[in-house]
Amino acid sequence: MTAPAPAPAPVLSVQGLSVRFRMRGGAYVSAVTDARFDLAAGECLALVGESGCGKSVLASALLGLLPANAETAGSALLGDLDLLTADERTLARTVRGRRVGLVPQSPAAHLTPVRTVRSQLEETLRELTGVRRPELREAAEAAADRASFPRGHLDRHPHELSGGLAQRAATALALVGDAPLLLADEPTTGLDRELVDRTVDELRRHVGDDRALLLITHDLAAARRVADRVAVMYASRIVEIADAESFFGDPGPRHPYARGLLNALPEREFTPIPGMPPELSALPDGCAFAPRCVRADEACTALPVLAGGGGGAGRDGAGRDGAGPDGAGRDGAGPDGAGDRGVEDRRVDDGRVESQGVACHHPHTHPRTVALEAPRA
């Protein structure tokens, strides 16, 4: 294999991001633990997982919108700015809307109810781009066009819009600042399938080649439709990060949780994963999924680490190639050269398999890596 070309710097590089909330009585709730991924320009990463697994807290952390009792660790570099340590003034004046655009979960609640869409678009344009009258009116109409929001509806108030139109109005607002990173937090909740497809297609279209999209969703069909890569979150950790095509198609997900999630879909086996996720205030020391996992054994009492990830996540976030056309990522390790491929496994000293892109001691193996499967009962 050829060595990957020197990569352009990722739009967003998240390294070891952890968020925990301090509760009354000194207890802690770990909402995000050690998240690592890179997001390249032109790439769409879908972060999937069930409600309460920490997805939205991760998004809030990236926007500096965590409540006062949150404690963070790690870094989230947007260019050379660390979003976790930036002060409120920097975030408010240079980041939100300008460098990170937010497509909200509930557009009806995000829009100001007492003002028309036109007035909100004009205000955003005035603040973010400095356009002044008389050009403002035309600029607002152009901004509406970009999100396919019909000009004839610009003078309506949010309550006069359908769910789909409100979603487009919110998208238009998110796009005004030409932010290199778009953050969509459950942008399709409550929409019907046709609207879901249209909304995510539009988001994908706006990403183009020079922006990045982090799509946070529990809707696997929406993720499948637009994502280049998929990160699966379970009990505050990213447990698998994989190429979307192999994740949803053949050979499928590798982490038993991700596999269970896909098998729960009505178009697949429609069987739930047994049990319930653990409390984020009392996470076990080892693999948090082990109590629900048929593959679990004593090895799972030690925490499996997400080692590398097909193109984005990994311990050495710097210098990897994001979403290169060949899909290759480097893990910077592996005397046997396994690091050349994003999804191959290698045997570590104690006989277990260290699997790329999946935090599990007993991942489902891809056909070409069967020979490397660890012996197990």
């Binding site: 069930e50 909740t189 729960a264 009505p266 429609f270 739930p272 049990g275």
Partner: protein
């Protein structure tokens, strides 16, 4: 048999959202009602559950015409229905623990003595652990709260279940778990189901038959029966 006969309903008499709709659910049958956002299917579900008085038309429950709506419905008819709504946060009293939430219908009908046994039983059915039952809604996830809301809907052993977008907010695994709990209950009791939603794949997998909103209006229904 649950019958909706020529139901017209809405929030403005001059502009009803549901016009002259006919729908029948046989005993033990599971019917999925599909329609796009905002078409009026939730309003129809509320009419079917005796929660919204229609402008015209009748709801007939096991041969008996519905005589009242909401709190004016006779108790025997009112308690024949279990309803699960789309948003568990909006349908759960934030002051109640999950145990109290599930037990509320028993208390409201003077059967408080049955609470300990029934709640423990149902918590198992919907997959809620004991530690969760002592919590209040803000201390649990959407999926866990929706499990409690389903348990509440089942606590009076309803003959009819109305699920209005029950799983729209939930992940795939919780969806499958809740559907399995509903189906387990129906297999045990023979209850009928009206499941409203916009996820065609889900409703076709879940229900005995699905009907699309467009097929329900008076003209279309008449076309089929003639």
């Amino acid at each position: 048999m649950l019958e909706l006969r020529s139901v017209t309903a809405g929030y403005d008499r001059r502009d009803p959202v549901v016009r002259d709709v006919h729908l029948t659910v046989a005993p033990g049958e599971a019917v999925g009602l599909l329609g796009p956002s905002g078409c009026g299917k939730s309003t129809l579900a509320r009419v079917a559950a005796l929660l919204h008085r229609p402008d015209r038309g009748q709801v007939v429950i096991d041969g008996e015409v519905a005589r009242g709506w909401r709190h004016r419905a006779p108790r025997a008819q009112r308690t024949a229905f279990g309803v699960v709504f789309q948003q568990p946060r909006l349908s759960a009293d934030p002051r109640l623990t999950l145990t109290q939430l599930i037990a509320e219908p028993l208390r409201a009908t003077g059967r408080a003595a049955e609470v300990p046994g029934r709640v423990a039983d149902l918590a198992r059915t919907v997959g809620l652990g004991d530690d969760l039952l002592a919590r209040r809604p803000h201390e649990v996830s959407d999926g866990q709260l929706q499990r409690a809301c389903l348990a509440r809907a089942l606590v009076l052993d309803p003959r009819w279940l109305i699920c209005d977008e029950m799983t729209a907010m939930l992940d795939a695994s919780t969806t499958a778990a809740l559907v399995a709990a509903v189906e387990g209950y129906r297999a045990r009791t023979g209850a009928g189901l009206l499941a409203v939603g916009h996820d065609k794949v889900l409703l076709e997998r879940w229900c005995d038959r699905t009907v699309h909103w467009d097929e329900l209006s008076g003209d279309a229904a008449a076309d089929r029966t003639t």
